[in-house]
Symmetry: C2
Subunit: 157 residues, 2 copies
């Protein structure tokens, strides 16, 4: 942590993520921003756009991943770093894992967000439960006769 | 499980999700489809669009949520059910939690997908580790002078 605090680029990128969050809040949006960096260069900037799009997945980090991947023309963001103004929710953290993001930093914690309804700690708690104990039951339902979908796909090369 | 197998609508919706997956595979895409249902009506259908969009978040379930929320003009999908051809990844499962999806069903398991590189069990395993032991380090970095972002946002009403 001390090393990170002394790294000017880390702080520069984080300050930019926070500035994006603050500007989004000033414009009537939710106070979240994110910056995605590859090889020391910002390749995507995004803010939470849930309110204007009605899209509940329009979190800043998820949008930064989408923007970066589409700008770079690749589904892989290996080696990239995300600077997020707020603690990433499990959807965004999983998205980072899926596309190979190497590291992530956040400024405001879930504890900071809790009094304002801006924490996703409860979702983390749900995800940490065994599937059968989560509030959202996830159940297997395999219709009779179904078996070969993935093998069919793989056989197409 | 037996009750579910006897419920014709459950099977009908799941068969539609699988048909979407199969059609997407036939068109060169990945073999995943999802159907989002509210009050017994399909409000969104989606397939995995990663290959054509380069967007690593373009999973069928996430796109179904986006389509449904935008079609219904709401960020909340409380009471909705998702039928997914494959076991939802943690990004999609977290998205369901975030917007209030009530239940989810899947046909093909991560075990089915493992031989074909279509399992996300490894991402679940990462997410189950304490943050400091995950492959993707998630680190707090709060610049000096930062403290009031969320309170500023809340004070705007």
């Amino acid at each position: 942590m001390n090393d990170l605090r002394l790294a000017p680029r880390h702080l520069e990128f984080m300050r930019e993520a926070i500035a994006l969050a603050r500007a989004n809040a000033a414009a009537g949006g939710r106070p979240f921003g994110a910056v995605l960096v590859r090889d020391g260069q910002v390749v995507a900037r995004a803010v939470n756009r849930i309110l204007e799009t009605h899209d509940p997945t329009a979190h800043a980090e998820l949008l930064a991943i989408r923007v970066a991947a589409q700008a770079l023309g690749t589904t892989r963001l290996d080696g990239c770093t995300i600077y997020a103004s707020g603690h990433p929710c499990p959807m965004c953290l999983a998205a980072m894992h899926l596309c190979g993001v190497a590291a992530a930093y956040y400024a405001y914690s879930n504890e900071d967000g809790e009094p304002f309804g801006l924490s996703t700690a409860a979702v983390y708690a749900q995800m940490a439960l065994p599937p059968e104990r989560q509030r959202l039951p996830l159940t297997r339902l395999l219709p009779d006769g179904e078996a070969g979908l993935y093998a069919e796909w793989a056989s197409r090369g």
